[in-house]
Amino acid sequence: MTVVEVSRHPVRRLGDRVFAGASTGAAITILATLAGVAIFLTVEGVPGILASPDEVKSGESFLPYVGPLVFGTLLAAAIALVIAVPVSIGVALFISHYAPRRLAAVMGYLIDLLAAVPSVVYGLWGIGFLAGKLVAPYGWLEEHLGFLPFFAGPASATGRTILTVGIVLAVMILPIMTAICREVFLQTPRLHEEAALALGATRWEMARLAVFPHARSGIISGAMLGLGRALGETMAVAMVLSASGVVSWNLISSTNPSTIAANIALSFKEASGLTVNALVASGLVLFVITFVVNVAARLVVDRRKDFSGADA
């Protein structure tokens, strides 16, 4: 009996080989790019990490230099997340379960428009509009909640504080978080929703009984993707924040911690020599942080996919 193993000796046309090669090559280019980002940042960054304090502009060795920036990055992103998570869940629920069917698409589109606004425009809006409007509320916070370290004051006279930055970042990450929440809310099994309603549950109880449990991992991964965005956002922070590189929990004063990204944007133009390397190294730190957050977020999403069997 003749045994022909097709998969072993496939006859393939030249066109097919070229085309398959080109598309595989493109895919591998992406791998190479990602590896290139890590490699080139490392190559250019390591001298900055090793530089002695008197060789860089900051006059500090790398860890004390980047430490406060990491703190500021995490703090700003955390504020943004605290604000954006409840709001995005509310918005997503409104669009998926409260709004009239016919308007839902338009409303979703409006929220998506927020994602289209360039970050430099957010920055302009932050200094030109929002910061000024927040001066008075910050004064109120200092006066009435000043016993909390967050609002110890003295309140900034310009409003360009880390809290303002957090608010701007929250607006910026709202669309992606809303989009993901909306998607998982819409995937709630109809049967569960109807079962809840048939039990006499109100709409809110239906959301709590049927929608939220089903959507938990989706909400988490959406929040983590938003966190990734907030950690890396540059221009809005660089423009709005009046930074002085301190480590402080005070959210409304005029001395604020800076963030890695904003610090790079603000210092890069004037930097030279090893200072540039130090900035690249801080970028590498940012890359690692966001990479870890994004990988974690994607793993949550992927686990969810495997679990629900959706999207084969």
Binding site: M1, V3, V4, V6, S7, V11
Partner: protein, 259 residues
């Protein structure tokens, strides 16, 4: 010149999974052969192995021989693309190309392979294929309209026209009427009768009356058991299979006792 097919000891695998086992069957030239059997018995898989369409799925492979006019379809130097030019196929659901006109759909085999044709030759080829598919009268005034605008039955005949315009020798049909209404089904069945003068036709059908109406030879496929590969139970002249089959399983299936 139509062609006969000789299949001997064919095993079809998807990866390690043996889907169809040990099929040996001669298929006569210029005749209609029908494959019948319950769902999942491997008759469609077997049909697709006759023009190597099953290889679209990763990991698909075969053992054994499929000889078309004495030449092994699975020979080492055989390009599946050439096989499919010789052995055409019509699918369960009509699938005209939505981006092409009726005219271009008929010529899709040539167009997609960038074959140059003189305008008059192309016109002739389109008319000939559409006439053979019994669609010419209905569409000759709107050849430039999209194929997706036709009714389901018309779309299926357009797909037949598309398949025969590349001048294959064998035409495989995978339940070609299962998505159509009864009237369209009769039109297609009549068409199959006419086409067998020129082509060797193999048709998979769920509909036993259809097998009895259109085919000269019938082959009955069945599963050896749950989780077991499909196999060919018996084959023979259609009248014999439907009146006096050798195997009791065939009789049971034809009388509607399972499947």
């Amino acid at each position: 010149m139509a062609t006969s097919i000789d299949v001997s000891d064919l095993n079809i695998y998807y990866g390690d999974f043996l889907a169809v086992e040990g099929v040996t069957i001669p298929i006569a030239a210029r005749s209609v052969t029908a494959f019948i059997g319950p769902s999942g018995c491997g008759k469609s898989t077997f049909l697709r192995s006759l023009n190597r369409m099953h290889e679209v799925v990763r990991g698909a492979r075969v053992e054994g021989k499929v000889l078309v006019d004495g030449e092994d379809l699975y020979g080492d130097d055989v390009d599946p693309v050439d096989v499919r030019r010789m052995v055409g196929m019509v699918f369960q659901r009509p699938n005209p190309f939505p981006t092409m006109s009726i005219y271009d759909n008929v010529l899709a085999g040539q167009r997609l392979n960038s074959k140059r044709m003189k305008k008059t030759d192309a016109d002739d080829a389109v008319e000939r294929a559409l006439r053979s598919a019994g669609l010419w009268a209905e569409v000759k005034d709107r050849l430039d309209r999209p194929g997706s605008g036709l009714s389901g039955g018309q779309q299926q005949r357009l797909c037949i026209a598309r398949a025969i315009s590349v001048e294959p020798e064998v035409l495989l049909m995978d339940e070609p009427c299962s998505a159509l209404d009864p009237i369209s089904t009769i039109v297609i069945e009549d068409l199959i009768h006419e086409l067998k003068a020129q082509y060797t036709i193999v048709i998979v059908t769920h509909n036993m009356q259809q097998a009895a109406r259109v085919s000269d030879t019938t082959a009955f496929f069945n599963l050896a058991g749950v989780g077991m590969p499909g196999r060919l139970v018996e084959h023979g002249a259609t009248e014999k299979i439907f009146s006096n089959p050798d195997e009791s399983a065939t009789e049971a299936y034809i009388q509607g006792r399972f499947g």
